[in-house]
């Protein structure tokens, strides 16, 4: 059974702090997505990473895909209250392009 473990599970920080969320698995994924979900809404796609070692930046968010395509990280610089939400990584199973395995989730709270 493929499993994507995220850490930490919960994170409460002050505005302006930096943070990193990790997404780890023993399985190889053909691609990995990061989503953010706010209360009462569906997950919203932040980024897709495809190549091992790939780094993508989205304003204050930096995403990295591990060299072996088994893990990923999300780093937020100078967090803001608007970053509050549930962060989910999701991996596409290698050679099977129609199914995603979702991570266990990281709930982030940023206080002003």
């Amino acid at each position: 059974t493929q499993l994507l473990e995220q850490s930490p599970q919960f994170l409460s920080i002050q505005e302006g702090e930096n943070l990193t969320v990790y997404c780890n698995s023993s399985s190889v994924f053909s691609s990995l997505q990061w989503y953010r979900q706010e209360p009462g809404e569906g997950p919203v796609l932040l980024v897709t990473v495809v190549t091992g070692g790939e780094v993508k930046k989205l304003k204050r968010l930096t995403f990295q895909f591990g060299d072996a395509r088994k893990d990923s990280s999300l780093h937020i610089t100078a967090a803001q209250p608007g970053d509050t939400g549930l962060y989910l990584c999701a991996g596409a199973i290698t050679y099977n392009t129609d199914k995603l395995i979702f991570g266990t989730g990281t709930r982030l709270q940023v206080f002003p």
Binding site: Y35, L45, T48, D98, K99, G103, G105
Partner: protein, 117 residues
């Protein structure tokens, strides 16, 4: 991306009844999926809704409990049958575009929040 709507947005139902959730997309999509998200938790895939054929269910989910229809490339329904309080969850549909390896992004509807009393 796609614009996805779900109906109803929320409902409170009695034990033993059934609820059908609708998912409408503003464009034709290759794949549609149904997920369950229990309070405070991540997403669990229920099934892949296949156009013109029976849905493909994940381990732990069966057609008798969660019948799914997909009559065309823009619409699908999920029915939660013979409900119990354990079925209280958010139900989400998502869509995907099969454009080859590495393009497995899915886009989600706003979800249906179901409470079973």
């Amino acid at each position: 991306s796609a614009v996805i709507s779900q109906k109803p947005s929320r409902d409170i139902c009695q034990r033993g009844t059934s609820l059908t959730i609708q998912c409408q997309v503003d464009s034709q999509v290759t794949m549609m999926f149904w997920y369950r998200q229990q309070p405070g938790q991540s997403l669990t895939l229920i099934a892949t809704a296949n156009q013109g054929s029976e849905a493909t269910y994940e381990s732990g989910f069966v057609i008798d409990k969660f019948p799914i229809s997909r009559p065309n490339l823009t619409f699908s329904t999920l029915t939660v049958s013979n409900m119990s309080p354990e079925d209280s969850s958010i139900y989400l549909c998502s869509v995907g575009y099969d454009r080859g390896p590495g393009t497995d992004t899915q886009y989600f509807g706003p979800g249906t929040r179901l409470t079973v009393l």
